[in-house]
Symmetry: C2
Subunit: 392 residues, 2 copies
């Protein structure tokens, strides 16, 4: 069905149970959809922008209060909205990373961290993961020491993903932050898979910067996200411009350099703000989300030859699964080849897995109801049974 | 009226003739609104993202074709979408400006250019404007020579706003570009008030980079914009990542460093794309827009004591006007003081001017019909007459 021109209507969320690994936390709430419709126009939030002319000072709509709410939400002192989590990484890297300086991230770090460091001229160094695909505080401490020896100075920043994008495994953020601080290394917490779906407490974790993604985990339109920090670091990270026109002597007041002034002036921030009351509540139901996800995990584990590659028991709804010895075996001889599996899922109204995937793939049950998870679980075992795979 | 929570419905565009200086070109088309509704969810355009996993390679929705259309639209070789024009300035500055290197911009440059240069560590130097608030090719050449003497090397880049944000004056882009190139200086064209509302031909102007704003001039949600360049410069500006995980040996394929990978993954790019067929047509009607605007300009000029501060005749629909000797005189004794003027406009269904403004202010008639411009013109003269200002 056409939406307009050569654009089709997108109806995945309406027509299917979507288990796409990256889309689950970014579905708009109904309130966000209302706000996006009311504030769709370009600079829609600027109607009542008054001195000092900055997004986070606008009172109508109450963007100023929203910014305070965001800081409180991750329990840090100051927060700003950004065009995606990656732009938060960039702001941190640009502020703290000198050309040629080492920066730590992990063997499971997202590519956008690498790019932010590369753009700032830093040299990325990975903290290894262990055999269970976990990044430990010991590994972090060891790598801080190695890098310090190699460069003659400690890493400028350590980037740590609370839950990584590959396995959805939880890493030792609290302990890593403690170790890093003992070496005087700042800690940048990547909460792209955390902020907005589970409780995040920046002070309790002891991190210096918290980045979250609006379109990944805060039920918001893309690109959106947050960057939060402590009062101490806000002075540098959110520094205001020192630029001056050499002929006109123009200065630019309270505009923040790393934000390039205002960031999200319309639909994106309004979507975030309208979803926020729901987001704030939903993080409290994280255990329920995990319990629902477990129903699906149990089903997959009951299928002969199927392995959960993510840590077990699961601490996140994003999971990596290996079906090379189950569904991929079927694909070898099935007339639809590798497409039999996603096609069988599609027949059951389940979408979000790359067509043809039968080997190693990821899925995310976040936001599905218990009933939907039960349905999904039985769909997996049914497809297995129909194709002669033993289900235990 | 409430939209949701403590968010009011925004109905400025429905309830008033909006002459806000920055909002005119960013009102969504009806098709953009449809697309924003269909693709509101976070990562909505990623349903069919396949290898090599990059926004501008997605075929469904046809983002790949849209990127090619955008390049053609500004007649350059390569284009990318960005989270606002400012992020385009940043990409150019980060790529070409070394720490401490001089960068030229103009006495009428937008603050976001200063911030992009500051973030990259460059030293901004202004090209002066002349007595008519125009930036000439001679002034640019003179400043290139001065700066070259001062720094011992030519400026890394010259930023030029085709139409500036203060007066909406047209500057000598073509001639400035020719001069800059004769000194081997790259030219970054700021088309925030041009791309999407009037014809822009990058090759014909002879510029190296074209930046446009989606939310300012392409009927798109914020933050959005484009960054286009020649095949020659695309290699540097859109360079793909060279980062590698030192332990895992991970590499990140075709992800572009300055874009930090993908930029606009949902409502923003879909709004841009749905508006694009309309935008491509509307630029051809620029002369009509100017003629409609002239009706309002004529009315303001007929009000005793009112001066058009922008160049005259007008070449843009954004205009700066001085009413210190007309409406501001009335404000001195009016019982509503300075608010009488915007209040009288509001009574007539006209919005978009900062409440209380009676001295020097800006307005934009872009997108208004001839009838609306006639109505606006008569509103200004009526308010003048009612308050005893002679209308000639």
């Amino acid at each position: 069905m056409r939406c307009t021109g050569d654009i089709e209507v997108r109806d995945l969320e309406e027509m299917a149970i979507n288990i796409d690994p990256i889309q689950a936390g970014g579905r708009l709430t109904a309130d966000a959809m209302k706000a996006v419709i009311a504030y769709g126009d370009g600079y829609s939030v600027c109607d009542n922008c008054r001195k000092p002319f900055r997004l986070d000072r606008i009172k109508r709509p109450p963007l100023d209060a929203f910014h305070r709410d965001l800081a409180r939400f991750v329990n840090l002192d100051e927060a700003r909205v950004m065009p995606g989590a990656r732009r938060g990484f960039q702001a941190v890297a640009d502020t703290y990373v000198e050309k040629g300086a080492p920066v730590l991230l992990t063997a499971l770090a997202h590519y956008t961290e690498f790019l932010a460091i590369e753009a700032a001229g830093g040299v990325p160094r990975e903290i290894p993961k262990d055999g269970r695909n976990l990044v430990t505080a010991d590994a972090a401490a060891g790598r801080i020491e190695e890098v310090t020896r190699e460069f003659g100075k400690p890493p400028a920043v350590l980037f740590i993903d609370h839950f990584d994008y590959q396995f959805g495994n939880e890493h030792q953020v609290r302990e890593i932050a403690r170790n890093a601080h003992s070496y005087d290394v700042k800690v940048m917490y990547n909460g792209a898979y955390a902020v907005g779906i589970l409780p995040v407490d920046g002070k309790e974790l002891g991190v210096d910067f918290v980045v979250g993604s609006g379109h990944k985990s805060m039920a918001s339109p893309a690109p959106s996200g947050i960057l939060a920090t402590t009062a101490e670091h806000a002075r540098d990270l959110f520094r205001t411009t020192g630029a001056r026109g050499d002929l006109t002597q123009r200065q630019f007041g309270v505009k923040e350099v790393e934000l390039l002034g205002c960031t999200l002036m319309g639909a994106t921030i309004m979507g975030m703000m309208a979803s926020f009351p729901h987001v704030r509540e939903r993080v409290k139901r994280w255990q329920e989300e995990l319990a629902n996800g477990q129903i699906v995990i149990d089903a997959l584990r009951s299928i002969d030859g199927t392995a959960i590659l993510s840590e077990y028991p699961r601490k996140h709804t994003l999971t990596r699964v290996d079906t090379r010895n189950s569904f991929d075996r079927v694909a070898e001889t099935h007339k639809k080849r590798g497409y039999f599996f996603t096609s069988a899922l599609a027949d059951r109204g389940i979408g979000g897995i790359i067509p043809g995937a039968t080997r190693v793939w990821k899925f995310n049950t976040y936001g599905l109801t218990r009933l939907q998870c039960e349905y999904l679980a039985s769909a997996f075992t049914e497809i297995a049974r129909e194709n002669g795979i033993p289900v235990g």
